[in-house]
Symmetry: C2
């Protein structure tokens, strides 16, 4: 099997696409900007869905489904919203063989249609909060696409909640941001920075947008999830009203929050290496593969029963569907190993005649290629710990990459150099949109967020020299 | 609480909509023909999805995701297919603010785009079979809609498989039909008739379509799932080719099969009664509700600890999320009971001061309103059995309704009368499309299927008097 993956150091963009191709994660669709998510890639998304869905339900949310098509008149009700989204919408003008009276937009996001329904349903403060999530496809016309990271159609979840008070809406916004952080760090093994977006970068129609930002191996930032406090903007536009405790009519306070199949792109970019996909065990659809090795019938007789025993032992420890039996004994061992490596299976067991004779297996972990010779007892007792260590090491590795890739700068020259070297930059900013725009124009770097955890620290803006209360996070972003 | 549900005997259509409204299962969307699936209705679909998805995976299928938008040129590649579907498609003509070069169709089903991708991926017989399923939304323009049963946009799964031989494709087609039958009968508690569709009723582009048909309480039939043997029709149109074992180029044999949110409609129509929704326990998102009853603080002190104990006991037996605690102690007991009845919660526990003093609970099952006075020990030991009995009784009741609603007729006069009385009819048919069309024209009844299980039995066609080899199933259908 040829080494069909470009090295990261040679061409990171090519490497990314090669990993996707070699792992059969996704493919281009005949419609420009759309993608096909192949089974191996979809299994990653399914596991993300399952884990997030559990977290949403544990925080009191329920799922529902709202229509794909949104009347044009809805899109125009919230001024910032239509300005932000209408230009990138796909528009249905014909249906059932006839021209429609009113064009319908394929949802780019569902605040408008959901706002309309909430206004229909909501009557009293007793019905609040409304805590609904939707798993759906959305479409935003894109000309410059990249598989998973930026495609016209993508899959996502969008939470939409309505509350009695401003404070409750803000609490919800931050609670769901924390759900995203915990999921990213604990399951995807990707450390993230939590913070607030600037006015310029916030969601069209939101009062405030919060985000988690992840560090990719090329030093770029990826916005991995957002949570929006929509204030009463959508409630006003769609008349989401209720009779309050004091019997007066009031506008609800709403939020929305989402993550998408973009997370599969984040996963690839955070952990994979020049041999292909690497998947942290807590997310991996398959945890391991047993690769029995024999050259002839005699070896088969010696190896197969023992390898089966190891396979069944792993199934009983990890779950019947979590372990693969590699039946391709006609192929060269190196090709078989490499196939599983490219697919990011966390570990493989190599079992040949000598192993079987000694009653041991050779366990190779994907992320570090370490080999361990283990008896079946050692395997049974050790496999859970090996996987937990792998999960922790992947997180640690990603954290170290981010630390190594982040610098603190105090001059414009240093800023420009750091951005050119694809670093994350902690720098002072004067808080104005004008400076933000000028920095983006000059360096292509954007303010990723105003991190929650960074301490106040007076200084001067790296670009304008004006006073600054604290540093913010700058980076080039996907 | 007013009895807000029309009686079935008075107006079955109104009853159906009232059950949906009272149970908050779905609502109309502002776009004609589309619907909003509300959380209570969506939870039913989620549970159907989870169960079916497990069955698909157990039969070797994997999930993937294909694009929503299909180029017009794809739709026209299979002649019957385009004729069947193009007239009911929604068409995107503009995207990103520009008119598109080629119109894009919102998928009415995905044989074309998936066929295109399979032709790109498939090279050798070694890669067969391809066994992929997709959970997705599809859109078929409908002017006469009915919530869940017939809406423009609906949610479904569509399996698409490719095989080396004709026989394997046929085996797959029937295997998945059997999965649908088992799911309908074992989980939804709806007995179904398995059979083949006539030429007139088959899927546009299929060689043969198989279906399961369910009996609704008004005597109409509902097609609950279909499985299509597509032969080489789509393989020919989309060039799904592979190098065979004999090194020649061959066309694949493909299948497709699907069920949709229509099943939620089937569920409602099969089991619900004049008081609202009835859900079989194996599907129910929530199995029971504990309704503690007190009028003052003194009673609360006596009741609450004991009711909590019953609640926790049920949670430990049935799962923490499967049991509801009714905290609305300010409302009238009758209203609380009725609220849960309308939502179809399989059982409730009523616990008042006298119950608490006696250490017993009053368990009321939804489907038959039977009351049982049980000690906590009896509750713990008996609840699983009570739920299994309920599941079996619902199935039995549906089966008896179907038996009572099915007649065997041998004359055209009897046929017409039976159809007018909304019966299912077992009758002889001469096998011609002309007779099938004439019967439909005269009676509105269609041939639901040629049932697998019905024995050959020579006779004469009920309409034409021509020879017939066996009876087929006629009914008025949704």
């Amino acid at each position: 099997m040829a080494r069909n993956i470009t090295a990261r150091s040679k061409d990171y963009s090519e490497w990314y696409l090669d990993v996707i191709k070699a792992g059969q994660l996704a493919d281009y669709s005949p419609v420009k900007g759309a993608m096909v998510i192949r089974p191996t890639g979809y299994a990653l998304w399914e596991n993300m869905q399952a884990d997030l869905d559990r977290r949403f339900k544990e925080t009191g949310h329920v799922n529902a489904y709202f229509p794909l098509l949104i009347p044009e008149s809805f899109m125009t009700k919230e001024a910032e919203h239509v300005e932000g989204f209408a230009p990138e919408c796909a528009v249905v003008t014909h249906g059932g063989g006839k021209k429609l009276d009113e064009p319908l937009y394929i949802r780019p996001t569902s605040e408008t249609i959901i706002g309309h329904m909430y206004s229909k349903w909501l009557t009293s403060w007793r019905e609040l909060p409304i805590l609904i999530n939707q798993w759906a496809n959305v479409l935003r016309w894109e000309m410059r696409t990249r598989l998973f990271l930026r495609t016209s159609e993508f899959l996502w979840q969008e939470g939409h909640t309505a509350h009695e008070t401003e404070g409750e809406a803000q609490d919800e916004t931050l609670k769901m941001l924390e759900v995203y952080r915990a999921f990213s760090e604990d399951v995807l093994a990707i450390p993230v920075i939590k913070g607030r977006k600037t006015e310029k970068e916030k969601f069209p129609g939101a009062v405030a947008t919060y985000c988690i930002e992840g560090f990719m191996q090329d030093g770029k930032a990826l916005q991995m999830g957002t949570s929006h406090n929509l204030g009463q903007n959508f409630a006003r536009a769609f008349e989401i009203k209720f009779t309050g405790r004091d019997n007066t009519e009031q506008l609800a306070w709403t939020t929305s929050w989402g993550v998408s199949t973009r997370l599969v792109g984040a996963l690839i970019m955070a952990h994979s290496d020049d041999d292909g996909l690497v998947v942290p065990p807590r997310l991996a659809p398959k945890l391991g593969v047993v690769v029995p090795l024999w050259k002839n019938e005699e070896e088969r007789t010696a190896v197969e029963p023992f390898a089966r025993q190891a396979f069944e032992l792993l199934q009983s420890k990890l779950g019947a569907l979590k372990v693969i039996w590699d039946a391709d004994t006609d192929k060269r061992p190196a090709d078989r190993f490499f196939g599983w490596v490219q697919q990011g299976i966390p570990f493989r067991l190599e079992i040949g005649p000598r192993d079987a004779a000694q009653g041991s297996v050779c366990l190779v972990t994907r992320h570090d290629r370490q080999k361990r010779i283990l008896s079946l007892d050692e395997l049974a007792g050790g496999i859970a710990g090996i996987l937990e260590t792998m999960q922790a090491e992947l997180y640690q590795q990603a954290l170290e990459r981010r630390s190594a890739g982040t610098v603190r700068v105090d001059s414009w020259a240093d800023f420009q150099q750091a951005i050119q070297e694809r670093k994350w930059v902690e720098a002072h900013w004067d808080g104005t949109g004008a400076t933000e725009a000028a920095i983006k124009e000059a360096s292509k770097a954007t303010i990723r967020c105003l991190p929650f955890d960074w301490a106040d620290e007076p200084g001067v803006c790296v670009f304008s020299g004006q006073p600054s209360a604290r540093r913010v996070l700058f980076a080039t972003a996907y």
